[in-house]
Protein backbone atom coordinates (compact mmCIF):
# COMPACT_ATOMS: atom_id res chain seq x y z
CA UNK A 1 0.00 0.00 0.00
CA UNK A 2 3.01 2.26 -0.20
CA UNK A 3 3.90 4.51 -3.10
CA UNK A 4 2.01 7.27 -4.77
CA UNK A 5 -1.57 7.87 -3.63
CA UNK A 6 -4.32 7.56 -6.26
CA UNK A 7 -5.83 10.87 -5.27
CA UNK A 8 -4.01 13.50 -3.25
CA UNK A 9 -5.48 16.72 -1.86
CA UNK A 10 -2.98 19.25 -0.60
CA UNK A 11 -4.27 22.25 1.33
CA UNK A 12 -7.41 22.46 -0.80
CA UNK A 13 -9.79 25.36 -0.20
CA UNK A 14 -12.90 26.44 -2.02
CA UNK A 15 -14.49 29.85 -1.61
CA UNK A 16 -17.74 30.83 -3.33
CA UNK A 17 -18.89 34.35 -4.03
CA UNK A 18 -22.42 34.61 -2.77
CA UNK A 19 -24.60 36.86 -4.84
CA UNK A 20 -26.12 39.73 -2.89
CA UNK A 21 -23.84 39.20 0.11
CA UNK A 22 -20.57 40.94 0.74
CA UNK A 23 -18.92 38.06 2.53
CA UNK A 24 -17.66 35.16 0.40
CA UNK A 25 -18.65 31.68 1.48
CA UNK A 26 -15.86 29.30 2.45
CA UNK A 27 -17.04 25.74 1.84
CA UNK A 28 -13.83 23.89 2.65
CA UNK A 29 -10.56 25.14 4.02
CA UNK A 30 -7.15 23.51 3.91
CA UNK A 31 -8.16 19.94 3.21
CA UNK A 32 -5.35 17.37 3.17
CA UNK A 33 -6.32 13.87 2.14
CA UNK A 34 -4.71 10.89 0.45
CA UNK A 35 -6.77 8.17 -1.15
CA UNK A 36 -4.86 5.00 -1.92
CA UNK A 37 -5.12 2.96 -5.07
CA UNK A 38 -7.99 0.47 -4.87
CA UNK A 39 -9.15 1.80 -1.52
CA UNK A 40 -12.71 2.20 -0.30
CA UNK A 41 -12.74 5.49 1.57
CA UNK A 42 -15.87 6.92 3.15
CA UNK A 43 -16.28 10.55 4.04
CA UNK A 44 -18.62 11.62 6.85
CA UNK A 45 -19.38 15.08 8.14
CA UNK A 46 -22.18 17.30 9.42
CA UNK A 47 -24.55 18.68 6.81
CA UNK A 48 -23.16 21.67 4.94
CA UNK A 49 -19.55 20.81 5.69
CA UNK A 50 -18.55 20.85 2.04
CA UNK A 51 -18.51 17.10 1.36
CA UNK A 52 -20.16 17.51 -2.02
CA UNK A 53 -17.88 20.40 -2.88
CA UNK A 54 -14.94 18.13 -2.21
CA UNK A 55 -16.37 15.53 -4.57
CA UNK A 56 -17.02 18.13 -7.29
CA UNK A 57 -13.39 19.20 -6.97
CA UNK A 58 -12.06 15.68 -7.40
CA UNK A 59 -14.49 15.19 -10.31
CA UNK A 60 -13.05 18.31 -11.92
CA UNK A 61 -16.44 20.01 -12.12
CA UNK A 62 -15.15 23.02 -10.19
CA UNK A 63 -11.67 24.34 -9.50
CA UNK A 64 -10.10 24.88 -6.11
CA UNK A 65 -9.49 28.40 -4.84
CA UNK A 66 -6.25 27.28 -3.22
CA UNK A 67 -4.21 24.09 -2.95
CA UNK A 68 -3.83 21.29 -5.43
CA UNK A 69 -5.61 18.06 -6.28
CA UNK A 70 -3.58 15.31 -7.87
CA UNK A 71 -4.76 12.20 -9.64
CA UNK A 72 -1.91 9.71 -10.10
CA UNK A 73 0.43 12.57 -9.31
CA UNK A 74 -0.90 14.88 -12.04
CA UNK A 75 -3.10 17.90 -11.30
CA UNK A 76 -6.77 17.54 -12.18
CA UNK A 77 -7.70 19.98 -14.93
CA UNK A 78 -11.30 19.03 -15.62
CA UNK A 79 -13.81 16.20 -15.73
CA UNK A 80 -12.80 12.98 -17.42
CA UNK A 81 -13.73 9.39 -17.94
CA UNK A 82 -11.03 8.23 -15.52
CA UNK A 83 -13.47 9.18 -12.77
CA UNK A 84 -17.14 8.22 -12.57
CA UNK A 85 -19.74 9.89 -10.34
CA UNK A 86 -22.84 8.38 -8.80
CA UNK A 87 -25.32 10.98 -7.54
CA UNK A 88 -27.91 10.68 -4.81
CA UNK A 89 -30.69 11.55 -7.26
CA UNK A 90 -29.47 8.99 -9.84
CA UNK A 91 -29.24 11.57 -12.67
CA UNK A 92 -30.36 9.03 -15.25
CA UNK A 93 -31.44 10.34 -18.62
CA UNK A 94 -35.20 9.78 -18.58
CA UNK A 95 -35.49 9.45 -22.37
CA UNK A 96 -33.04 6.57 -22.43
CA UNK A 97 -33.69 2.99 -21.43
CA UNK A 98 -31.59 1.38 -18.69
CA UNK A 99 -29.22 -0.09 -21.29
CA UNK A 100 -28.97 3.15 -23.26
CA UNK A 101 -28.18 4.99 -20.03
CA UNK A 102 -25.36 2.59 -19.28
CA UNK A 103 -24.06 3.12 -22.81
CA UNK A 104 -23.92 6.89 -22.39
CA UNK A 105 -20.40 7.12 -21.08
CA UNK A 106 -19.22 4.62 -23.68
CA UNK A 107 -20.64 6.83 -26.41
CA UNK A 108 -18.71 9.73 -24.96
CA UNK A 109 -15.63 7.55 -25.02
CA UNK A 110 -16.19 6.68 -28.69
CA UNK A 111 -16.65 2.94 -28.21
CA UNK A 112 -18.20 1.25 -31.30
CA UNK A 113 -21.88 0.42 -31.13
CA UNK A 114 -21.59 -3.35 -30.89
CA UNK A 115 -19.01 -3.27 -28.11
CA UNK A 116 -21.09 -0.68 -26.34
CA UNK A 117 -24.17 -2.90 -26.31
CA UNK A 118 -22.11 -5.83 -25.11
CA UNK A 119 -20.51 -3.89 -22.27
CA UNK A 120 -23.85 -2.38 -21.24
CA UNK A 121 -25.37 -5.83 -20.96
CA UNK A 122 -22.41 -7.07 -18.93
CA UNK A 123 -22.67 -4.23 -16.43
CA UNK A 124 -26.43 -4.58 -16.24
CA UNK A 125 -25.79 -8.16 -15.16
CA UNK A 126 -23.14 -7.05 -12.70
CA UNK A 127 -25.64 -4.86 -10.83
CA UNK A 128 -28.24 -7.63 -10.94
CA UNK A 129 -30.70 -6.05 -13.35
CA UNK A 130 -30.71 -8.72 -16.04
CA UNK A 131 -33.96 -8.43 -17.97
CA UNK A 132 -34.63 -4.80 -17.11
CA UNK A 133 -32.48 -3.29 -19.86
CA UNK A 134 -35.42 -2.10 -21.91
CA UNK A 135 -37.10 -0.21 -19.08
CA UNK A 136 -37.12 3.55 -18.83
CA UNK A 137 -36.01 5.10 -15.53
CA UNK A 138 -39.56 6.02 -14.53
CA UNK A 139 -40.49 2.35 -14.84
CA UNK A 140 -37.84 1.34 -12.29
CA UNK A 141 -37.81 1.56 -8.49
CA UNK A 142 -35.38 3.87 -6.70
CA UNK A 143 -33.03 1.03 -5.88
CA UNK A 144 -33.04 -0.20 -9.46
CA UNK A 145 -32.38 3.30 -10.76
CA UNK A 146 -29.37 3.60 -8.51
CA UNK A 147 -28.14 0.22 -9.75
CA UNK A 148 -28.41 1.51 -13.32
CA UNK A 149 -26.53 4.66 -12.32
CA UNK A 150 -23.76 2.58 -10.74
CA UNK A 151 -23.58 0.40 -13.84
CA UNK A 152 -23.39 3.52 -16.01
CA UNK A 153 -20.45 4.83 -14.01
CA UNK A 154 -18.66 1.49 -14.06
CA UNK A 155 -19.27 0.81 -17.75
CA UNK A 156 -16.73 3.28 -19.06
CA UNK A 157 -14.22 1.69 -16.71
CA UNK A 158 -12.98 4.62 -14.62
CA UNK A 159 -10.21 4.08 -12.08
CA UNK A 160 -12.07 6.05 -9.46
CA UNK A 161 -15.71 5.94 -8.45
CA UNK A 162 -17.00 9.04 -6.68
CA UNK A 163 -20.26 8.49 -4.85
CA UNK A 164 -22.27 11.35 -3.38
CA UNK A 165 -24.67 9.92 -0.77
CA UNK A 166 -25.89 7.43 -3.37
CA UNK A 167 -28.13 5.44 -1.03
CA UNK A 168 -29.56 8.29 1.05
CA UNK A 169 -32.85 8.40 -0.85
CA UNK A 170 -33.51 4.67 -0.54
CA UNK A 171 -35.43 2.75 2.10
CA UNK A 172 -33.40 0.92 4.76
CA UNK A 173 -33.70 -2.57 3.28
CA UNK A 174 -32.82 -1.53 -0.26
CA UNK A 175 -29.93 0.47 1.13
CA UNK A 176 -28.47 -2.50 2.99
CA UNK A 177 -28.68 -4.80 0.00
CA UNK A 178 -27.09 -2.18 -2.24
CA UNK A 179 -24.29 -1.63 0.30
CA UNK A 180 -23.54 -5.33 0.21
CA UNK A 181 -23.59 -5.36 -3.57
CA UNK A 182 -21.34 -2.35 -3.76
CA UNK A 183 -18.76 -4.12 -1.61
CA UNK A 184 -19.01 -7.16 -3.86
CA UNK A 185 -18.57 -4.98 -6.97
CA UNK A 186 -15.65 -3.18 -5.35
CA UNK A 187 -13.93 -6.48 -4.61
CA UNK A 188 -14.58 -7.67 -8.16
CA UNK A 189 -13.44 -4.53 -9.95
CA UNK A 190 -10.68 -3.13 -7.70
CA UNK A 191 -11.88 0.45 -8.17
CA UNK A 192 -10.80 3.24 -5.92
CA UNK A 193 -14.01 4.45 -4.30
CA UNK A 194 -14.64 7.72 -2.49
CA UNK A 195 -18.03 7.47 -0.86
CA UNK A 196 -19.76 10.41 0.81
CA UNK A 197 -22.39 9.75 3.43
CA UNK A 198 -23.93 11.32 6.49
CA UNK A 199 -24.69 7.94 7.97
CA UNK A 200 -22.10 6.72 10.48
CA UNK A 201 -23.21 3.09 10.15
CA UNK A 202 -22.88 3.26 6.40
CA UNK A 203 -19.45 4.84 6.67
CA UNK A 204 -18.17 2.14 9.02
CA UNK A 205 -19.79 -0.70 7.12
CA UNK A 206 -18.44 0.29 3.72
CA UNK A 207 -15.22 2.15 4.33
CA UNK A 208 -11.83 0.61 4.93
CA UNK A 209 -10.96 4.08 6.16
CA UNK A 210 -13.41 6.74 7.30
CA UNK A 211 -12.49 10.40 6.91
CA UNK A 212 -14.39 12.53 9.40
CA UNK A 213 -14.88 16.16 8.44
CA UNK A 214 -15.37 19.22 10.62
CA UNK A 215 -18.27 21.63 10.31
CA UNK A 216 -18.02 24.47 7.82
CA UNK A 217 -15.49 25.43 6.61
CA UNK A 218 -14.77 21.73 6.19
CA UNK A 219 -11.44 20.14 7.02
CA UNK A 220 -10.52 16.54 7.58
CA UNK A 221 -10.64 16.12 11.34
CA UNK A 222 -9.49 12.56 11.64
CA UNK A 223 -9.11 9.46 9.52
CA UNK A 224 -10.30 6.27 11.21
CA UNK A 225 -8.97 2.99 9.87
CA UNK A 226 -11.66 0.34 10.02
CA UNK A 227 -10.42 -3.20 10.37
CA UNK A 228 -12.58 -6.19 11.12
CA UNK A 229 -11.07 -9.59 11.80
CA UNK A 230 -13.90 -11.14 9.85
CA UNK A 231 -16.76 -9.68 7.83
CA UNK A 232 -18.86 -12.84 8.12
CA UNK A 233 -22.33 -12.74 9.68
CA UNK A 234 -24.09 -9.65 10.95
CA UNK A 235 -21.19 -7.24 11.01
CA UNK A 236 -23.30 -4.36 12.28
CA UNK A 237 -24.25 -6.23 15.47
CA UNK A 238 -20.68 -6.98 16.56
CA UNK A 239 -18.83 -5.13 19.36
CA UNK A 240 -16.07 -3.85 17.02
CA UNK A 241 -18.64 -2.20 14.83
CA UNK A 242 -20.12 -0.52 17.89
CA UNK A 243 -16.73 0.78 18.96
CA UNK A 244 -16.01 2.32 15.56
CA UNK A 245 -19.47 3.72 15.45
CA UNK A 246 -19.15 5.32 18.87
CA UNK A 247 -15.73 6.72 18.12
CA UNK A 248 -16.92 8.45 14.94
CA UNK A 249 -20.11 9.57 16.64
CA UNK A 250 -18.03 11.27 19.35
CA UNK A 251 -15.87 12.95 16.73
CA UNK A 252 -18.94 14.20 14.92
CA UNK A 253 -20.97 15.30 17.92
CA UNK A 254 -19.04 18.50 18.53
CA UNK A 255 -19.03 19.27 14.82
CA UNK A 256 -22.76 18.80 14.47
CA UNK A 257 -23.30 21.07 17.46
CA UNK A 258 -21.00 23.67 15.89
CA UNK A 259 -22.80 23.38 12.55
CA UNK A 260 -26.17 23.89 14.23
CA UNK A 261 -24.94 26.89 16.19
CA UNK A 262 -23.61 28.33 12.95
CA UNK A 263 -26.97 27.79 11.26
CA UNK A 264 -28.83 29.47 14.11
CA UNK A 265 -26.46 32.43 13.91
CA UNK A 266 -27.13 32.80 10.18
CA UNK A 267 -30.88 32.52 10.64
CA UNK A 268 -30.72 34.97 13.56
CA UNK A 269 -28.75 37.58 11.64
CA UNK A 270 -31.19 37.36 8.72
CA UNK A 271 -34.34 37.31 10.83
Amino acid sequence: MSGQPKIALRGVSKVFDVRGEGEPFTAIHGVDLDVREGEFLTLVGPSGCGKSTLLDLIAGLTTATAGEILLDGAPITGPGLDRGIVFQQYALFPWRTALANIEFGLEAKGVPRRERAEAARRYLDLVGLNGFGGRYPHELSGGMRQRVAIARSLAFDPDVLLMDEPFAALDAQTRESLQEELLRIWEQTNKTIVFITHGIDEAVYLGRRVAVMTSRPGRVKEIVTVDFASREGDLRAGPRFGEYRHHIWTLLRDEVAAAQADERKVVGSHG
Binding site: P79, G84, A91, W95, R96, Y136, H138
Partner: protein, 291 residues
Amino acid sequence: MADRSRGGTVAVPERPGAYPVRERPDKGPGVRVRRAVPAAVRAVSGVARKSAAIVLLLAVWEVLPRIGVVDPVFLTPFSEVVVAWGGLVAGGELLDHVQASLLRSLAGFGLAIAGAIPLGLLIGWYRPVADFLGPVLELFRNTAALALLPVFVLILGLGETSKIAIILYACAWPILLNTIAGVRGVDPLLVKSARSMGLTPLRLFQKVILPAAVPTVFTGIRLAGAYSILVLVAAEMVGAKAGLGYLINYAQFNFRIPDMYAGILTISVLGLLFNLLLLRLERHFSTWRTT
Protein backbone atom coordinates in the same frame (compact mmCIF):
# COMPACT_ATOMS: atom_id res chain seq x y z
CA MET B 1 -91.36 19.77 -37.03
CA ALA B 2 -91.01 17.09 -34.44
CA ASP B 3 -89.50 14.62 -36.87
CA ARG B 4 -87.28 17.28 -38.39
CA SER B 5 -85.71 17.88 -35.02
CA ARG B 6 -85.27 14.16 -34.61
CA GLY B 7 -83.49 14.22 -37.92
CA GLY B 8 -81.10 16.61 -36.25
CA THR B 9 -80.31 14.27 -33.42
CA VAL B 10 -79.90 11.36 -35.81
CA ALA B 11 -77.08 13.24 -37.46
CA VAL B 12 -75.44 13.70 -34.09
CA PRO B 13 -73.58 10.39 -33.67
CA GLU B 14 -71.24 11.23 -36.53
CA ARG B 15 -69.62 13.89 -34.34
CA PRO B 16 -69.31 12.01 -31.08
CA GLY B 17 -67.96 9.20 -33.24
CA ALA B 18 -64.71 11.09 -33.35
CA TYR B 19 -64.46 11.13 -29.59
CA PRO B 20 -63.02 7.76 -28.60
CA VAL B 21 -59.87 8.89 -30.41
CA ARG B 22 -59.54 11.77 -28.06
CA GLU B 23 -60.42 9.75 -25.04
CA ARG B 24 -57.66 7.24 -25.36
CA PRO B 25 -54.66 9.52 -25.03
CA ASP B 26 -56.29 11.21 -22.05
CA LYS B 27 -55.94 8.10 -19.96
CA GLY B 28 -52.57 6.46 -19.65
CA PRO B 29 -51.98 3.20 -21.49
CA GLY B 30 -51.80 1.41 -18.15
CA VAL B 31 -55.42 2.15 -17.39
CA ARG B 32 -56.63 0.19 -20.38
CA VAL B 33 -54.67 -2.93 -19.59
CA ARG B 34 -55.96 -3.44 -16.08
CA ARG B 35 -59.39 -4.92 -16.66
CA ALA B 36 -60.33 -5.80 -20.20
CA VAL B 37 -64.06 -6.45 -20.11
CA PRO B 38 -65.22 -3.70 -17.76
CA ALA B 39 -62.87 -1.41 -19.70
CA ALA B 40 -65.03 -1.82 -22.80
CA VAL B 41 -68.15 -1.01 -20.81
CA ARG B 42 -66.40 1.94 -19.22
CA ALA B 43 -65.22 3.15 -22.62
CA VAL B 44 -68.78 3.23 -23.93
CA SER B 45 -70.09 5.01 -20.88
CA GLY B 46 -67.09 7.32 -21.10
CA VAL B 47 -67.94 8.21 -24.69
CA ALA B 48 -71.52 8.82 -23.68
CA ARG B 49 -70.44 11.04 -20.81
CA LYS B 50 -67.98 13.02 -22.87
CA SER B 51 -70.29 13.52 -25.83
CA ALA B 52 -73.32 14.46 -23.71
CA ALA B 53 -72.46 18.16 -23.71
CA ILE B 54 -71.91 18.19 -27.49
CA VAL B 55 -75.21 16.40 -28.10
CA LEU B 56 -76.94 18.86 -25.83
CA LEU B 57 -75.35 21.82 -27.60
CA LEU B 58 -76.39 20.57 -31.02
CA ALA B 59 -79.89 19.86 -29.74
CA VAL B 60 -80.19 23.42 -28.43
CA TRP B 61 -78.84 24.70 -31.73
CA GLU B 62 -81.52 22.71 -33.54
CA VAL B 63 -84.41 23.54 -31.25
CA LEU B 64 -83.98 27.22 -30.41
CA PRO B 65 -84.43 28.56 -33.97
CA ARG B 66 -87.25 26.11 -34.61
CA ILE B 67 -89.37 27.15 -31.65
CA GLY B 68 -88.70 30.78 -32.50
CA VAL B 69 -86.56 31.78 -29.55
CA VAL B 70 -83.87 32.84 -32.00
CA ASP B 71 -84.53 34.11 -35.50
CA PRO B 72 -83.89 31.05 -37.74
CA VAL B 73 -82.65 33.37 -40.46
CA PHE B 74 -79.64 34.32 -38.33
CA LEU B 75 -79.17 31.01 -36.54
CA THR B 76 -79.85 28.27 -39.02
CA PRO B 77 -80.93 25.00 -37.36
CA PHE B 78 -78.11 22.49 -37.21
CA SER B 79 -79.78 19.99 -39.56
CA GLU B 80 -80.03 22.63 -42.27
CA VAL B 81 -76.39 23.54 -41.79
CA VAL B 82 -75.53 19.88 -42.36
CA VAL B 83 -77.57 19.94 -45.57
CA ALA B 84 -75.79 23.11 -46.71
CA TRP B 85 -72.46 21.50 -45.83
CA GLY B 86 -73.37 18.48 -47.96
CA GLY B 87 -74.16 20.83 -50.84
CA LEU B 88 -70.79 22.57 -50.53
CA VAL B 89 -69.00 19.24 -50.47
CA ALA B 90 -70.93 17.89 -53.45
CA GLY B 91 -70.25 21.02 -55.48
CA GLY B 92 -66.53 20.68 -54.84
CA GLU B 93 -66.52 24.23 -53.47
CA LEU B 94 -65.62 23.23 -49.93
CA LEU B 95 -62.66 21.15 -51.00
CA ASP B 96 -61.16 24.15 -52.82
CA HIS B 97 -61.55 26.34 -49.77
CA VAL B 98 -60.15 23.71 -47.43
CA GLN B 99 -57.19 23.21 -49.74
CA ALA B 100 -56.43 26.92 -49.95
CA SER B 101 -56.70 27.27 -46.17
CA LEU B 102 -54.64 24.22 -45.34
CA LEU B 103 -51.90 25.32 -47.71
CA ARG B 104 -51.60 28.68 -45.97
CA SER B 105 -51.84 27.19 -42.50
CA LEU B 106 -49.28 24.50 -43.12
CA ALA B 107 -46.88 26.86 -44.91
CA GLY B 108 -46.96 29.37 -42.05
CA PHE B 109 -46.85 26.62 -39.43
CA GLY B 110 -43.98 24.81 -41.15
CA LEU B 111 -41.92 27.95 -41.60
CA ALA B 112 -42.53 28.87 -37.97
CA ILE B 113 -41.20 25.48 -36.85
CA ALA B 114 -38.18 25.77 -39.12
CA GLY B 115 -37.33 29.23 -37.86
CA ALA B 116 -38.43 29.34 -34.23
CA ILE B 117 -36.86 26.09 -33.01
CA PRO B 118 -33.27 26.97 -33.99
CA LEU B 119 -33.73 30.51 -32.73
CA GLY B 120 -35.21 29.24 -29.47
CA LEU B 121 -32.32 26.81 -28.98
CA LEU B 122 -29.88 29.63 -29.56
CA ILE B 123 -31.60 31.97 -27.12
CA GLY B 124 -32.04 29.23 -24.53
CA TRP B 125 -28.44 28.11 -24.70
CA TYR B 126 -26.49 31.35 -25.07
CA ARG B 127 -27.01 33.87 -22.30
CA PRO B 128 -25.70 36.84 -24.31
CA VAL B 129 -28.19 36.19 -27.11
CA ALA B 130 -30.97 35.97 -24.54
CA ASP B 131 -29.92 39.19 -22.84
CA PHE B 132 -29.73 40.97 -26.18
CA LEU B 133 -33.04 39.76 -27.61
CA GLY B 134 -34.99 39.51 -24.35
CA PRO B 135 -36.56 42.99 -24.27
CA VAL B 136 -37.59 42.80 -27.94
CA LEU B 137 -39.17 39.40 -27.39
CA GLU B 138 -41.00 40.68 -24.34
CA LEU B 139 -42.43 43.58 -26.36
CA PHE B 140 -43.57 41.53 -29.32
CA ARG B 141 -44.99 38.58 -27.44
CA ASN B 142 -47.36 40.96 -25.71
CA THR B 143 -48.58 42.38 -29.00
CA ALA B 144 -51.55 40.49 -30.42
CA ALA B 145 -50.65 38.99 -33.78
CA LEU B 146 -53.84 40.24 -35.40
CA ALA B 147 -53.08 43.79 -34.36
CA LEU B 148 -50.18 43.57 -36.76
CA LEU B 149 -52.26 42.24 -39.67
CA PRO B 150 -52.72 45.69 -41.23
CA VAL B 151 -48.97 46.22 -41.05
CA PHE B 152 -48.35 42.91 -42.80
CA VAL B 153 -50.89 43.79 -45.49
CA LEU B 154 -49.31 47.23 -45.98
CA ILE B 155 -45.82 45.87 -46.35
CA LEU B 156 -46.43 42.51 -48.02
CA GLY B 157 -49.58 43.31 -49.97
CA LEU B 158 -52.91 41.49 -50.03
CA GLY B 159 -51.61 38.26 -51.57
CA GLU B 160 -50.51 34.96 -50.13
CA THR B 161 -47.30 36.36 -48.67
CA SER B 162 -48.96 38.50 -46.04
CA LYS B 163 -51.36 35.72 -45.08
CA ILE B 164 -48.65 33.13 -44.66
CA ALA B 165 -46.49 35.69 -42.89
CA ILE B 166 -49.10 36.52 -40.26
CA ILE B 167 -49.68 32.81 -39.61
CA LEU B 168 -45.93 32.30 -39.37
CA TYR B 169 -45.71 35.17 -36.94
CA ALA B 170 -48.51 33.90 -34.72
CA CYS B 171 -47.18 30.32 -34.75
CA ALA B 172 -43.59 31.32 -34.07
CA TRP B 173 -44.27 32.64 -30.55
CA PRO B 174 -45.46 29.53 -28.74
CA ILE B 175 -42.74 27.47 -30.42
CA LEU B 176 -40.03 30.01 -29.64
CA LEU B 177 -41.04 30.55 -26.02
CA ASN B 178 -41.47 26.85 -25.34
CA THR B 179 -38.16 25.99 -26.95
CA ILE B 180 -36.42 28.56 -24.79
CA ALA B 181 -38.19 27.23 -21.70
CA GLY B 182 -37.34 23.68 -22.73
CA VAL B 183 -33.64 24.38 -23.02
CA ARG B 184 -33.55 26.42 -19.81
CA GLY B 185 -35.58 23.86 -17.91
CA VAL B 186 -33.22 20.93 -18.38
CA ASP B 187 -32.45 19.36 -15.01
CA PRO B 188 -29.04 20.80 -14.00
CA LEU B 189 -28.14 17.47 -12.44
CA LEU B 190 -28.36 15.80 -15.86
CA VAL B 191 -26.08 18.46 -17.26
CA LYS B 192 -23.69 17.96 -14.36
CA SER B 193 -23.77 14.21 -14.84
CA ALA B 194 -23.03 14.51 -18.55
CA ARG B 195 -20.32 17.06 -17.90
CA SER B 196 -18.68 14.74 -15.40
CA MET B 197 -18.31 12.25 -18.25
CA GLY B 198 -16.25 14.78 -20.13
CA LEU B 199 -18.76 15.74 -22.83
CA THR B 200 -17.86 18.77 -24.93
CA PRO B 201 -20.45 21.57 -24.94
CA LEU B 202 -21.58 20.60 -28.44
CA ARG B 203 -22.06 16.93 -27.54
CA LEU B 204 -23.75 17.97 -24.31
CA PHE B 205 -26.20 20.02 -26.33
CA GLN B 206 -26.84 17.21 -28.77
CA LYS B 207 -27.05 14.36 -26.26
CA VAL B 208 -28.69 16.01 -23.27
CA ILE B 209 -30.20 19.43 -23.89
CA LEU B 210 -31.93 18.58 -27.15
CA PRO B 211 -33.62 15.33 -26.10
CA ALA B 212 -34.56 16.80 -22.73
CA ALA B 213 -36.23 19.78 -24.40
CA VAL B 214 -38.26 17.78 -26.93
CA PRO B 215 -41.48 17.43 -24.91
CA THR B 216 -41.60 21.14 -24.07
CA VAL B 217 -40.88 22.08 -27.68
CA PHE B 218 -43.72 19.81 -28.76
CA THR B 219 -46.14 21.54 -26.43
CA GLY B 220 -45.23 24.74 -28.26
CA ILE B 221 -45.75 23.09 -31.62
CA ARG B 222 -49.18 21.90 -30.58
CA LEU B 223 -50.15 25.39 -29.43
CA ALA B 224 -48.85 26.78 -32.70
CA GLY B 225 -51.01 24.29 -34.58
CA ALA B 226 -54.09 25.74 -32.90
CA TYR B 227 -52.92 29.30 -33.64
CA SER B 228 -52.33 28.48 -37.28
CA ILE B 229 -56.04 27.76 -37.70
CA LEU B 230 -57.23 30.60 -35.46
CA VAL B 231 -55.25 33.30 -37.25
CA LEU B 232 -55.91 31.82 -40.67
CA VAL B 233 -59.58 32.73 -40.59
CA ALA B 234 -58.92 36.35 -39.74
CA ALA B 235 -56.21 36.59 -42.39
CA GLU B 236 -58.53 35.18 -45.01
CA MET B 237 -61.23 37.70 -44.26
CA VAL B 238 -59.02 40.39 -45.77
CA GLY B 239 -58.54 40.32 -49.52
CA ALA B 240 -58.69 36.58 -50.12
CA LYS B 241 -60.36 34.85 -53.06
CA ALA B 242 -60.47 31.38 -51.53
CA GLY B 243 -60.20 29.71 -48.15
CA LEU B 244 -62.52 28.94 -45.29
CA GLY B 245 -62.24 32.42 -43.79
CA TYR B 246 -63.18 33.85 -47.17
CA LEU B 247 -66.09 31.41 -47.43
CA ILE B 248 -67.44 32.42 -44.04
CA ASN B 249 -67.10 36.12 -44.75
CA TYR B 250 -68.42 35.88 -48.29
CA ALA B 251 -71.38 33.70 -47.28
CA GLN B 252 -72.33 36.18 -44.59
CA PHE B 253 -72.10 39.07 -47.07
CA ASN B 254 -74.36 37.29 -49.53
CA PHE B 255 -76.75 36.19 -46.87
CA ARG B 256 -76.01 32.50 -47.41
CA ILE B 257 -76.23 31.96 -43.69
CA PRO B 258 -76.35 28.12 -43.73
CA ASP B 259 -73.16 28.15 -45.83
CA MET B 260 -71.56 30.48 -43.31
CA TYR B 261 -72.28 28.04 -40.49
CA ALA B 262 -71.06 25.17 -42.66
CA GLY B 263 -67.76 27.03 -43.06
CA ILE B 264 -67.51 27.68 -39.33
CA LEU B 265 -68.21 24.03 -38.59
CA THR B 266 -65.53 22.95 -41.04
CA ILE B 267 -62.99 25.23 -39.38
CA SER B 268 -63.80 23.78 -35.94
CA VAL B 269 -63.48 20.22 -37.12
CA LEU B 270 -60.27 21.03 -38.97
CA GLY B 271 -58.79 22.64 -35.86
CA LEU B 272 -59.87 19.68 -33.77
CA LEU B 273 -58.33 17.14 -36.13
CA PHE B 274 -55.10 19.09 -36.42
CA ASN B 275 -54.83 19.26 -32.64
CA LEU B 276 -55.51 15.54 -32.33
CA LEU B 277 -52.82 14.75 -34.84
CA LEU B 278 -50.28 16.90 -33.04
CA LEU B 279 -51.31 15.47 -29.68
CA ARG B 280 -50.64 11.99 -31.04
CA LEU B 281 -47.23 13.05 -32.29
CA GLU B 282 -46.44 14.75 -28.99
CA ARG B 283 -47.26 11.65 -27.02
CA HIS B 284 -45.24 9.53 -29.37
CA PHE B 285 -42.14 11.64 -28.78
CA SER B 286 -42.57 12.03 -25.01
CA THR B 287 -43.38 8.51 -23.87
CA TRP B 288 -40.58 8.74 -21.35
CA ARG B 289 -42.08 11.72 -19.61
CA THR B 290 -43.20 10.57 -16.18
CA THR B 291 -46.26 12.76 -15.75
